[in-house]
Homo-oligomer: 309 residues x 2
């Protein structure tokens, strides 16, 4: 029987699975380690998109339509900012803005991102341990045919259109895993790689000093973010193709081959199961697209059963 | 006939009269010089309460009920900030917040407060020249029985309750009048001291190097902010009493005796008119409380007629 689970995740799809895992595990069984490579400074604020998506998902505050931001949001700040000629390319809702402000204020008072994340979780009633991958800034840079772009510049301002040649993670050399990250990995019975972007959500976490080795020492189950060659949301599929790979669950399996004991793929990709098995991992075929709130604990349960099997 | 008018003002009552003056003068006839002694940094933002009140009043965006902030405002940012345990003692609406953000962003890009104010006015369709008293920070400190308090700390956090012993204006030694301030005073036919707090709205402006002398060289008409011994809004009356004066239109006349060629007082204070005249200034008795939008140009017109008489 599994006692402890660590989930590595980005935002959106990963955040959905995390909320499913929180539904089927007790609070002290689950630790979530979140990508901070997409973090950036905007409007003078420290913005952590993946942490926010995960926290909002766990708090039941996530906007079910956008995949980011809060439910029941208003946009009066953004509208008034636009009237003043201010920068509106990155959309921030009125309530969401409060989270960025409070995080920025507390970091300005020399609290660590870990401590601030814990404070925010507490305030929003999130009892699961949510950890940033590092307290030091690590910034994903997209090397593209339009030059080196910061992630949000590539993702939002350029709508993921530039062709991607590679990535690097600024600050990685001096970044340490956040307090609790290695401890949680050491103590866990299972690591789940959530259905997040392998290149810009999971790789940054795995690149932080000591994390990949700690993950590799444990049973690891991945969930393919690629379904039928496409991603539900985000540029993962396009990145595989830009970088010269096919976009498929098989490519995901190969990307994490050295880590995975098993991969969960969608029914749509069932034909690839035997080929993935040849890479030396087990395969679970499941409905991986979480359309409804019920899909989340259902998939989480199936993953945990698969890992325990 | 008056060609040019300069109004010195704080927020609230002064802002109302300014919008009245803008209604009866053409745009190139009026220059407004605004107190910045109440400005402060909060939530990482440069907040200029009096400039905002004046700009909102001129743009027709002022909240008619509060005397500060915007009309049609929402408070979702503040509510969410409160849920996170953030500082909510200074109320900022969702739309108002955009102004503070955009100002802060532009000042961070090394634009002067004068340039930023001009930009904001343009964006909001305000064609009257609105000038901060200085581009350098000057901060009103209230010396009180609770110690030295920054103005917003005294005004908002302490609700004006501490007993006031005096004031000083931090930064005054190194502050210069903003570009255009001395030029406007030199070119003007009339200076109007709006019905603003003498101690913490008008005195800071007059204390900026060279301003008092430039004002003193011109005909100056004041409008008493004290009516029947009280203020419509704000702590002016209490400050007169705390400092050992009576709170009256006469005390206002004495406070600005060296500058005023005339003072506008309310009908309620008509009995003081002859005593004020003995101080060497003319007196206009008028309805000075601007309850309706129509009261503003009506009072502005009366003041200008009085000045021209």
């Amino acid at each position: 029987m599994l006692r402890r689970v660590v989930a590595l995740t980005g935002g959106v799809g990963g955040a959905k699975l995390v909320s499913g895992l929180a539904g089927v595990l007790s609070n002290d069984q689950l630790t979530v380690i979140v990508n901070t490579g997409d973090d950036f400074e905007h409007l003078g604020l420290v913005i952590c998109p993946d942490l926010d998506s995960v926290i909002y998902a766990l708090a039941g505050l996530a906007n079910p339509h956008t995949g980011w931001g809060r439910v029941d949001e208003t946009w009066n700040f953004m509208e008034a900012l636009g009237e003043l000629g201010g920068p509106t390319w990155f959309r921030v809702g009125d309530r969401d803005l409060a989270l960025h402000h409070e995080r920025t204020r507390l970091i300005g008072e020399d609290h660590s991102l870990t401590a601030v994340t814990q404070h925010i979780c507490q305030a929003l009633g999130v009892a699961v341990a949510v950890l940033p991958m590092s307290d030091q800034p690590v910034r994903t840079i997209v090397i593209s045919d339009e030059g080196e772009l910061s992630f949000q510049d590539y993702f939002v301002a350029h709508s993921c259109e530039p062709r991607v040649y590679g990535f690097h993670f600024d600050g990685l050399e001096t970044a340490n895993p956040a307090p609790g990250v290695l401890e949680a990995l050491l103590a866990t019975d299972l690591v789940i790689l959530c259905p997040s972007n392998p290149w810009v959500s999971l790789d940054p976490i795995l690149s932080v000093s000591g994390v990949r080795e700690a993950v590799a020492a444990k049973p690891v189950i991945g969930v393919s973010p690629i379904v039928g060659g496409k991603t539900i949301k985000g540029p993962a599929a396009k990145m595989f193709v830009d970088l010269g790979f096919e976009s498929s669950a098989l490519a995901v399996a190969e990307h994490f081959q050295d880590l995975l004991s098993g991969l969960v793929i969608d029914r749509e990709d069932e034909a690839m199961a035997s080929e993935i098995t040849l890479l030396g991992m087990r395969v679970l075929v499941a409905d991986t697209i979480m359309k409804t709130a019920d899909d989340r604990p259902r998939l989480a349960e199936e993953i945990i059963d698969f890992a325990s099997g």
